[in-house]
């Protein structure tokens, strides 16, 4: 372990970004964690002040600062609304990397990140076993999932009403694909992402079906790794770099016009964090940039590129939409998924605070389940008050957490990915 002075030197590197916070406190209006606790250490301004305090050696309790730093959903709402344009997410991710360098990773996390996540085949085998022996491997699977996806709900702990691992993950249902562009003349690559692969393969299937119907060629490489956000948000830079490098190698093997995902978090990670946070082989920089530029959310692609339009309500029920933070805050994608719901024939019901975080936040959900539950419970109430029968969203991690929250309230509201609704409507027409 390095000494505090060395730690301060590392944080000093963030100084140029830290000083741009003018301490106006406007982030108090938007931070979902602060809304629950009312504590300054939980809001952006407080966290930045703590990092500044470490950088200037005004503070000694680095572990205390690290605790506060982790009480954050990394939802990006503060950054999207910060009047001073502070690069908050960059600061938080870099700070987490510095902290991990200083304190080291916990044994479990080390095993998961370095042993398993960075080794996609092993990850698949282990979760495959987990699916078969859910009961037997309870603890193990929990540890594994709890920190394997940053936004992955830990499914088997406490009174969580969880989604279990799928019996057959997507990579078993559709091992690989390389179909030519059809009527649309467009070819895309599909990045599955771990939660869709292992918990919601039906979302991936729906996406592939829609693309096929629209005459879109699909490249789905046999091997895919996690997008890397869990590693990055735990400050595990080396694993992140490794995962990005593997994905770049596997995806650049194909040729395509767009890279699509149906996971909001994956989209944001590939588009925003791959180019900015990758510290590995500089030879890959250009390829990463190109992939990032090609990356799109599935609804965004269908509406903006293929021109899918609203259709008259076709009785598929009353649908409300939750904006995943990673689509709304970073990428400003809010209209397209709503258009998709209407294109699927849903009667759209806007809920209150549709753009407020559901409270999942991956490892945040594991470490601070109570807080996560409070934030999610408000979301669930807003969903119920909307009068909808179906909650649609664009991120599998949100789906997990919202399912848990709605089920606690015995709401009887179905949780679906937007693309599932649309695929169903094509089937009905079909």
């Amino acid at each position: 372990m390095a000494d505090l002075h060395q730690l301060a030197q590392m944080f000093k590197e963030l100084d140029d970004q830290l000083v741009s916070c003018m301490r106006c406190g406007m982030c108090q209006a938007v931070c979902p964690v602060f809304a629950q606790t009312g504590r300054e250490a939980d809001v952006t301004r407080g966290k930045l002040a703590l990092l500044d305090g470490l950088a200037h050696e005004m503070l000694k309790d680095a572990a205390g600062v690290n605790d506060k730093l982790n009480r954050c959903l990394l939802c990006g709402t503060c950054q999207a609304n910060c009047p001073s344009g502070v690069k908050i997410m960059d600061i938080f991710l870099k700070a987490r990397a510095i902290m991990t360098g200083y304190f080291g990773l916990s044994k479990t996390k080390k095993a998961i990140f370095r042993g398993m996540l960075a080794n996609p085949r092993l990850f698949n085998v282990l979760t495959g076993m987990g699916a078969t022996f859910q009961g037997l491997f309870t603890k193990k699977v929990d540890d594994m999932l709890g920190s394997s996806c940053a936004r992955f709900n830990s499914p088997l702990v406490g009174d969580r009403h969880f989604n279990t691992l799928a019996a057959t993950p997507l990579h078993k249902i559709v091992p690989e694909l390389d179909s030519p562009a059809g009527a649309s003349g467009v070819k895309v690559a599909f990045f599955t992402g771990c939660v869709i692969d292992k918990v919601f393969p039906q979302v991936g299937e729906a996406a592939l079906k829609v693309l096929e119907q629209k005459g879109v060629g699909v490249f789905l490489p046999a091997k895919q790794a996690c997008c890397g956000i869990p590693a990055l948000s735990s400050g595990e830079q080396a694993t992140f770099d490794k995962l990005v490098a593997m994905n770049v190698q596997w995806f650049t093997a194909g040729s395509f016009d767009y890279l699509l995902t149906s996971c909001a978090t994956c989209t944001a990670t590939i588009k925003e964090l791959w180019p900015r946070m990758f510290k590995g082989d500089p030879a890959l920089t250009a390829a990463i940039k190109e992939l990032a530029e090609k990356t799109m959310d599935i609804s965004q692609f269908l509406v903006d590129v293929l021109g899918v339009k609203e259709a008259p309500a076709a009785g598929c029920g009353k649908v409300t939409y939750h904006d995943p933070c990673h689509l709304k805050n970073g990428l400003g994608i809010t209209a397209q998924p709503r258009t998709m719901i209407k294109a699927a024939g849903g009667t759209f019901k806007e809920m209150r605070e549709a753009g407020t975080c559901c409270g999942c936040g991956g490892s945040f959900n594991v470490a601070h389940y109570d807080l996560s539950k409070k934030i999610g419970s408000r979301k669930a109430q807003n969903i119920m008050d909307s009068g909808a029968d179906i909650l649609a969203t664009s991120c599998p991690a949100c789906m997990l957490h919202i399912t848990d929250m709605l089920s606690h309230k015995k709401a009887g509201i179905k949780v679906k990915h937007v693309i599932e609704l649309y695929a169903d409507s094509l089937k009905k027409q079909g």
Binding site: D16, V19, S20, C24, G25, M26, A41, D61, G85
Partner: protein
């Protein structure tokens, strides 16, 4: 702080509401002012009125300096604690106790967020006008203690014009009642008036009675560009001379216009020397008349371009330009010092000229925007606090800004308060005798000097 005292606080507010760790204390060591931070010894968060009163008394019993903190958005260091002191948070006291539509008043706890309150009042079909730029987070207690203003000051006044009464705790833990729920009240000293703008130095607010009013039925907004500050100021004077009192009358200088345009690309003319943003409101017929008249006046005084908002979206675009002013400026440099020297309306051109001279003299970037209708300007100095040489020039420039404002018959602060930042200039605006009077008053009401020491009177 010694653990037995911490336990006494915990007995009052509960264990969860006492924070003593280094990290928890560090985050209450600053506010929105560009000043050095000071760590408190303890932070407590009472959740009801009784706990608040007992907290104040306990601080006094132990002679502990006490700083009340709302949202910590004040720009003058009003919530930077005294070394060894206790920070008392009000965000656990955030209930709206009553909105009385019949008698048009509301009773609130001090930690209610301004915008939430305004929205609740609007939901009852009424209107709470004070709208500081920080209203999405600022608390009503903080607004009263700073006498916060906002965009609507010219026609609707500022916070003090809406405070009908305040119940507050004195240092001995007695609840002092002032004002009433009636429009008229002459029972005793006007302690409510004394509490407004007292910045936590004379008492701790427990409940506030606020006046609410019927909302205007219609409004119209417009934007006018000018070739000179002088022309814009003359337009302001002419509008008021025509007996029109716009709800809002805002001005921006060329530097701010350019910065906002570079930020939003909304089509503001970058070569305009000044821009006025005007909104008239009231009865629909009157609004139509007044808007027309204002248009004419702008043209007569050489407006080079005039945009009248025809619908809600266009109105929003007009005000977006104003909302963008601070964020756009703030992004230019690491440190942003927002001042609020205020001069009589007619002195705005002179003050703008003075600011130009000051920015040249000290080689600083200053963008100025503000409330032209009431002479409250916001010269915004863009700098980097880490650059020692430049920071020395900033400090000199600030001195000079205050001197110039006072010479022009103005005041140190229109709405941001005195706090720590401007305490040393108080004597310039008043005199020794006045400050002595303040201190004598304070020494009687707060003999141990525990209430927010160092603020206002130094």
């Amino acid at each position: 702080m010694n653990t037995s005292i911490i336990k006494e606080f915990a007995a009052i507010v509960g264990d969860d509401n006492v924070m003593s760790s280094e990290t928890d204390r560090h985050v209450y060591s600053y506010d929105a002012a560009v000043l050095d931070s000071v760590m408190p010894a303890l932070v407590v968060r009472p959740e009801n009125s009784e706990a608040l009163g007992k907290t104040v008394k306990l601080c006094n019993d132990h002679g502990l300096p006490l700083t009340v903190r709302g949202a910590g958005t004040n720009l003058s260091g009003g919530t930077i604690p005294h070394p060894g002191g206790v920070v008392v948070l009000t965000n656990g006291l955030n209930r709206i106790l009553e909105i009385n539509a019949e008698d048009m008043y509301a009773v609130v706890e001090p930690g209610v967020v301004t915008a939430k309150f305004a929205a609740e009042v609007a939901a009852c079909g009424l209107f709470y006008p004070p709208d500081p730029g920080s209203q999405a987070v600022s608390t009503l207690g903080g607004n009263v203690a700073e006498n916060a203003g906002g965009l609507r000051g010219l026609k609707y006044g500022v916070t003090k014009d809406y405070v009908m009464g305040i119940d507050f705790w004195d240092v001995n833990g007695n609840l002092i009642k002032s004002g009433s729920r009636t429009v008229k009240c002459v029972s005793g000293y006007n302690l409510t008036g004394l509490m407004v703008a007292s910045e936590g130095t004379l008492g701790v607010f427990d409940k506030i009675i606020l006046k609410i009013i019927p909302p205007p039925k219609a409004s119209r907004s417009m934007m006018a560009m000018f070739n000179s500050m002088q022309a814009a100021s003359e337009t302001v004077a002419a509008i008021i001379a025509a007996k029109i009192v716009p709800a809002t009358l805002e001005i921006m200088d060329n530097f701010t216009i350019r910065t906002v345009e570079n930020f939003r690309h909304a089509g503001l003319p970058k070569n305009a020397a000044a821009l006025l943003l005007i909104e008239v409101d009231g009865h629909p017929a009157q609004v139509a008349d007044e808007a027309e008249l204002v248009e004419q006046i702008c043209k007569q005084h050489g407006a080079t371009e005039l945009k009248v908002a025809r619908d809600a979206a266009e109105r929003d675009a007009v005000w977006q330009a104003r909302r963008d002013a601070l964020p756009a400026l703030a992004k230019l440099r690491p440190t942003c010092v927002l001042e609020d020297a205020t001069v009589p309306r007619s002195k705005i051109p002179a003050m703008i000229k003075a600011l130009d001279d000051i920015s040249k003299k000290y080689q600083l970037t200053i963008g100025t925007f503000g409330h032209a209708g009431d002479g409250n300007l916001h010269p915004t100095i863009l700098t980097d606090r880490r650059d020692e040489k430049e920071w020395q020039r900033v400090e000199k420039a600030i001195d000079e800004i205050f001197n110039r404002a006072l010479e022009l018959g103005g005041t140190l602060s229109g709405e941001h308060g005195i706090g720590l930042a401007k305490a040393k200039y108080m004597v310039l605006e008043t005199n020794r005798g006045t400050l002595d009077y303040f201190r004598r008053m304070k020494s009687v009401l707060d003999p141990k000097g525990i209430l927010n020491p160092g603020k206002i009177i130094g």
